[in-house]
């Protein structure tokens, strides 16, 4: 695959240029091969005799639901975990990694979902930082800048080597991580759900860069649970399910339905969640002329007035960073308002008081699950009582009841189908989908009047996404006023009764979902209409 792949910004066109078997015809050296890898954790077999291989110049996607074992497999490949059983070959040679450094010496690098860069340093400095290869005391910024610039140009990843990380967007930071790996001699690059933080345009750009890397003989292992992007970028796809490697198929010979069936182990319809539209009741949540500041002091919300009625889902559409996050935080009491008024069922919500918001019946599913929504090093049971521990249900006087906490956790684990070894399992050990279930279980079991859900399905796999959407629809049907912030227009259209479009901190329009169309909303999102 030395001829530059016809790289097109849209994934669909790319797939069509890859004739079936185009990859299979060429004998390729195997870059990495894992055979019967098994990794056990207390109570779970995360990888059960998983086998996986990727050739030089191949883009190989690892597809699976949350908790299927993708991340564990990659942690095994990059030396973060040691396998209990199984063998690993790199370039045909057996290897045994004791640390990520060993894996890096063998040319395996990983770009994590959560980027690991030093924000106050420049791009070039970050590239050299922690580098194991050149053992020189003298650091020549210009030489490094040149190397970085060359790599950036070669793989179409424009970024200024002299810029400081804090000045860059998330997409640019990700490019820095990839360049860092390439400049250090990555032969095998693992990208862990790289598009989560990207806009659609940035994602297309990334796919094109990934094809360039493969064209240059590098191996890219692409972890994802988004079927369209897997089909767009990968040569082959290995599907993991519940810790087993189910199948490896060429991307050109398959389609989204087949992959989805392999992934969840049953025929799934990728159909939309259906909602029974109902008579909206009285307004429960009302924002009147609300202003609020962003973290850096500029106005993030400008004169926002919206109403949400009983049993209604109000979808908040907009390009990320136009005030949606601040809107959610203001309603949840996490961010003070500077002007205006918020009422819930007629009662005024004090500004910037999370406990008052909870007491008034606001449930909040934050965008930043791990950082805000849960306490990762506490158990499932403890996280489930994070908001109810003050009440009589969990304590008598100042003393907490362990028995009640465990009983409550068992009930929630059952009701919300949380997959975990037990109520005492630490939440950080769960998969993304299960963490979101813990969060939803806690928020919904409090009997809320208002539910604010910010990007509730971001980073979740197909099964968990459908589950969360179903829960949101049911919650509205049970008479809760739901505010759903999402950057995914499909999701907005699928679930919302009405859509409020945010641009630059203002509501530029509120439409009935049944009467709105995508073009119209798209234009409003960029401030044109």
């Amino acid at each position: 695959m030395t001829d530059a792949q016809a790289v097109s910004p849209t994934g669909a066109a790319l797939v069509s240029t890859l004739a079936p078997g185009a990859f299979g015809d060429m004998p390729k050296a195997l870059a990495v091969q894992a055979i019967d890898m098994t990794k056990r954790f207390p109570g779970v077999v995360a990888n059960d005799r998983v086998s996986f291989e990727a050739a030089d110049g191949e883009v190989h996607a690892l597809l699976g639901e949350n908790g299927a074992g993708k991340t564990t497999l990659c942690n095994l490949l990059m030396g973060l975990y040691r396998p209990d059983e199984g063998r690993l070959y790199v370039g045909g040679k057996p290897v045994r990694f004791h640390s990520p450094r060993d894996a890096q010496d063998a040319g395996i690098f990983m770009v994590h979902q959560h980027l690991r860069l030093v924000e106050s340093m420049t791009v070039a400095e970050n590239v050299v930082l922690g580098s194991s290869a050149p053992r020189q005391l003298h650091f020549s910024p210009r030489a490094v800048e040149k190397t970085v610039a060359e790599a950036a140009e070669r793989f179409q990843m424009s970024v200024d080597p002299r810029a400081r990380i804090w000045q860059l967007s998330l997409g640019e930071r990700q490019r820095v991580e990839i360049l860092k790996a390439l400049c250090r001699g990555a032969k095998i690059l693992i990208l862990d759900e790289p598009t989560t933080v990207l806009t659609p345009q940035e994602a297309d750009q990334l796919f094109s860069s990934v094809r360039d890397m493969a064209g240059a003989g590098r191996t890219v292992i692409f972890i994802s649970h988004k079927l369209p992007e897997v089909l767009a970028v990968a040569d082959r796809v290995t599907i993991l399910r519940q810790g087993h490697s189910i199948a490896t198929v060429p991307a050109a010979g398959t389609d989204a339905d087949d992959l989805a069936a392999l992934m969840v182990g049953r025929d799934v319809s990728l159909e939309a969640t259906t909602r029974v539209s109902q008579e909206a009741g009285a307004a429960v949540l009302e924002l009147t002329g609300v202003w609020a500041r962003a973290d850096l002091g500029s106005d993030a919300l400008k004169d926002v007035t919206v109403q949400v009625r009983v049993g209604e889902i109000l979808g908040i559409a907009g390009v990320s960073g136009n005030g949606q996050r601040e809107l959610a935080e203001v309603i949840a009491g996490l961010r003070p308002t500077t002007r205006g008024m918020i009422t819930i069922g007629g009662a005024r919500l004090p500004s910037g008081d999370p406990r008052a918001a909870i007491d008034l019946g606001v449930a909040y599913v934050p965008e930043d699950r791990m950082g805000t929504g849960i306490s990762p090093n506490l158990s499932i049971a403890e996280n489930l009582m994070l908001k109810s521990y003050r009440g009589k249900a969990m304590s008598s006087g100042p003393v907490l009841s362990n028995r009640k906490a465990i009983a409550n956790a068992k009930e929630m684990i059952d009701r919300f189908d949380i997959r975990a070894p037990g109520p005492r399992t630490l939440v950080r050990q769960l998969s993304g989908g299960n963490i979101q279930k813990v969060l939803l279980a806690r928020e919904l079991s409090s009997g809320p009047r208002v539910l604010v859900a910010a990007s509730p399905t971001r980073g979740l796999d197909v099964g968990a996404t459908q589950y969360v959407r179903r829960v949101l629809a049911d919650t509205a049907a049970s008479g809760v006023a739901v505010v759903m912030v999402s950057e995914d227009l499909d999701e907005i259209f699928e679930l919302s009764d009405r859509i409020a479009v945010f641009y630059s901190g203002r509501v530029v329009g509120t439409l009935q979902a049944s009467e709105a169309n995508r073009q119209q909303i798209g234009l409003m999102m960029v401030g044109v209409a």
């Binding site: 299979g24 291989e53 060429p250 909040y364």
Partner: protein, 391 residues
């Protein structure tokens, strides 16, 4: 490129390691110290015997170990409690000074009260003074987001100078201005007989009242942390301040209250210094002892567990006591300090074993016998055909 010795972080620490590692560290320390003793011309066996005797068996030795252990118990609890919430109160030293100032003021002012009431007043006076002193870094942290490590540390020096000023450079309430000689050698006023805390005496051994109070506090703190709403909030705050705020915990108040309790405990260390032992505000003695700083070591060795603080304070107290007993013409202070240093260093260093797996091996190599896997068809040349594409 880190050489053959490797440290890998353990994902989970087995429970038995938390007990085995400190014990093994102590044995290792004993071996290293033995070598040091041999090199300096001392007999390790007899030195150890002497230490054992000086810390435990000799006449009055155990009492004197408790004299050192009592303040360490309080300052250890002070650090362990705050550290549980990842609030780094390094100010136990200064809070102890202020506690001593507060307790001696109470003891002097209320000297004619009935003994039980006076003792309670002294405990509260010391606790209040320590807590107020700890609220300064707490307020700065909660409302101005300053780093409490720096502010609480700096305030130790302020408290030290303040205490000196009260006795040496002023005619304060605490200073003795009447007795002959007090003008030449400034001292504090000695508290009345009612202000002496009663210990429990069995034969030649005296268990200070402060130590009993400290054990009670340790149990109370353990219950507070483990099974109350208050402790639950502390654990959430310590793990994720954002999640704490999100779940409606009053995070600012929580910092003030935890720092207040922590400082109050250090303040009681000061009360106990006055009531149990000194009966006079002695700035020089308190500063030389450095109980506040050693308390941080005690808390770290106890892994912030209040009950373990009780044990560790006795261990460190015994060690300090034995060290003082060893000092003499043939056994210089420096050697005692080196021994204590080696023991602390080894035990603290042993903690790394509990958290990391350490292995010794060469660079990853291709094992000669298994260079090419063949039987399974695992060869360096891929077929390109999807392997295992069945299902």
């Amino acid at each position: 490129m880190t050489g053959p010795l490797r440290f890998e972080r353990r994902l989970d620490t087995p429970k038995w390691l938390n007990v085995a590692v400190p014990l093994a560290s102590l044995v290792l320390a004993a071996v290293i110290v033995a070598i040091l003793l041999l090199a300096t011309g001392h007999n390790p066996i007899s030195t150890y015997h002497e230490m054992y005797s000086a810390a435990i068996t000799a006449n009055g030795a155990l009492s004197s170990t408790f004299v050192f252990a009592t303040p360490l118990l309080f300052t250890g609890l002070c650090a362990a409690f705050a550290f549980r919430m990842r609030t780094w109160n390094i100010g136990g030293e200064g809070q102890l000074y202020m506690g001593a100032v507060g307790a001696s003021a109470t003891g002097l002012a209320l000297g004619n009260w009935p003994r039980p009431f006076l003792i309670i007043a002294m405990i509260l006076g010391g606790a209040l003074a320590g807590a107020v002193w700890a609220e300064i870094p707490a307020l700065l942290r909660a409302y101005l987001r300053t780093n409490e490590i720096l502010t609480s540390l700096m305030l130790n020096y302020v408290a030290g100078f303040l205490m000196y000023y009260l006795i040496y450079d002023s005619t304060s309430y605490w200073r003795d201005l009447t007795s002959p000689g007090a003008t030449v050698f400034p001292t504090g006023k000695t508290l009345g007989p009612h202000a002496n805390w009663p210990g429990i005496t069995i034969g030649s051994f005296t268990l200070p009242m402060g130590f009993i109070l400290g054990i009670g506090l340790a149990v109370g703190l353990l219950v507070l942390i483990r099974s109350t709403r208050y402790g639950f909030e502390m654990r959430v705050m310590g793990d994720s301040p954002h999640a704490a705020n999100y779940s409606g915990i009053r995070t600012k108040r929580k910092i003030l209250s935890v720092m207040g309790i922590s400082g109050g405990i250090a303040g009681i260390a000061g009360s106990s210094q006055i009531g149990d032992f000194g009966h006079v505000l002695d700035p020089r003695g308190l500063q030389q002892a450095q109980y506040g700083y050693t308390g941080i070591v005690v808390a770290a060795l106890a892994l912030y567990n209040p009950l373990a603080v009780v044990m560790v304070s006795l261990l460190i107290g015994g060690l300090t006591n034995a060290g003082f007993a060893l000092e003499g013409p043939s056994f210089p202070t420096g050697l005692v300090g080196t021994m204590e240093g080696i023991i602390l260093f080894t035990v603290l260093g042993g903690e790394i074993l509990a958290r990391y797996r350490i292995s010794w091996h060469r660079r990853p190599v291709v094992a000669a016998g298994t260079a090419r896997p063949s039987a399974t068809g695992v060869v360096a040349v891929g077929t390109g055909a999807p392997s295992g594409a069945a299902s």
